[in-house]
Symmetry: C2
């Protein structure tokens, strides 16, 4: 009788034995252009991103960037902006899962020994459009996780990008540049305060349900 290959993720207390793995910021993301032309839009966007300062991999479900927080956010912002530009008004959404410190993570598939200069910034920093976004933060392994969530939401209030609270998420509305600057800041805050966190973000542009209410 063949035995099944079960997984065992150990305990969060032991964390990854590899310190290097805990320094890696990662983002798994999927962009959905609601257009017959979605393949061309996605390939065009992915191709325009400079990923030289990251590890990057694309599978059947999504793309993953791993490296320094700054470069992950820089590349993600570039990919989203390029997709929206290629879509020329098409309703486009993006789901992004930022993560750092997972006890199951390993020190593989990453690039860290690079300078801090954001290589995509020059190509996209002058492009502005409004984004509607929902976020949810999951600080793992700690009883007081709601305090970190409140701190991150209150920072959005301070920045003037907070639209409101809804079931299971916080809604933000702002310019695309402000939104990604906020993501970078939240990633830095979380890396400093919790050993393992996940930040989920869903972005939406050119939604017909938005247009009909404005």
């Amino acid at each position: 009788m063949s035995e099944k290959q079960y997984v065992s993720y150990g305990s969060a207390k032991t964390c990854s034995p590899d310190v290097a793995a805990r320094e890696i910021t990662g983002c798994r993301f999927s962009i959905a252009p609601m257009s017959d032309n979605f393949v061309d839009i996605l390939l065009s966007a992915l191709k325009q991103v400079d990923t030289s300062k990251l590890w990057s991999g694309t599978d059947a479900l999504s793309t993953v960037y791993r490296g320094k927080n700054r470069h992950v956010v820089d590349a993600l912002k570039a990919c989203f902006i390029h997709a929206v530009q290629a879509g020329q008004g098409v309703h486009t959404t993006m789901e992004a899962t930022f993560s750092r410190g997972c006890p199951g993570d390993t020190a593989a598939d990453y690039t860290m020994t690079v300078s801090d200069e954001a290589v995509n910034e020059a190509a996209v920093s002058d492009i502005h459009f409004p984004v509607l976004c929902k976020i949810a933060l999951y600080p793992m392994g700690v009883e007081n996780y709601m305090e970190y969530i409140a701190a991150v939401v209150n920072r959005a209030i301070d920045l003037g990008i907070y639209e409101g609270t809804a079931h299971y998420c916080t809604v933000l509305r702002c310019d695309v540049q402000s939104l990604f600057a906020y993501f970078e800041e939240v990633n830095n805050y979380c890396a400093e305060h919790v050993s393992h966190y996940v930040l989920e973000a869903s972005l939406s542009v050119n939604s017909p349900s938005e247009r009909s209410t404005q």
Copy 2:
């Protein structure tokens, strides 16, 4: 000087004072048909779902169902299947966030006093197609959260729907009916073992990158 309205979510230890709120299973989801015809596909799908045993609300970003686990999963499955059928081969993705027990939740916007009979089952139970899916489970507020994640992944291995582990997620591949049965089971398992959890699932059908590798 006007003061900013900050949020305060209190402590997970105190939880929601309202016991009723802790019984509510919720799901926030967005379906993305990658077609010029996405509005008609989405409206057609949402309209065909019997939501009589749920609270349901749609905003600019997503739709939320709240009620008993069985009815939330039943309605979500029906909505996804109706969207895939209306799409007639269109590449379609769905992002779904299941949640229960959030300390910030309130005993509002829900339907619980209904029988267990799943009202959408008859319309969709005979429809079968393969789905590629990634999941991530976040058991909140507990140090040993990796153990619950491992249990849920091992259950997928037992069911023969586990495809593999990737960065930040577990990949499943199976028939649509098996997948939603698994979601219902995971929700029941989590409700029994952790006071607050979030289960993220991303489903994909008719992907051209899938077709090209088969």
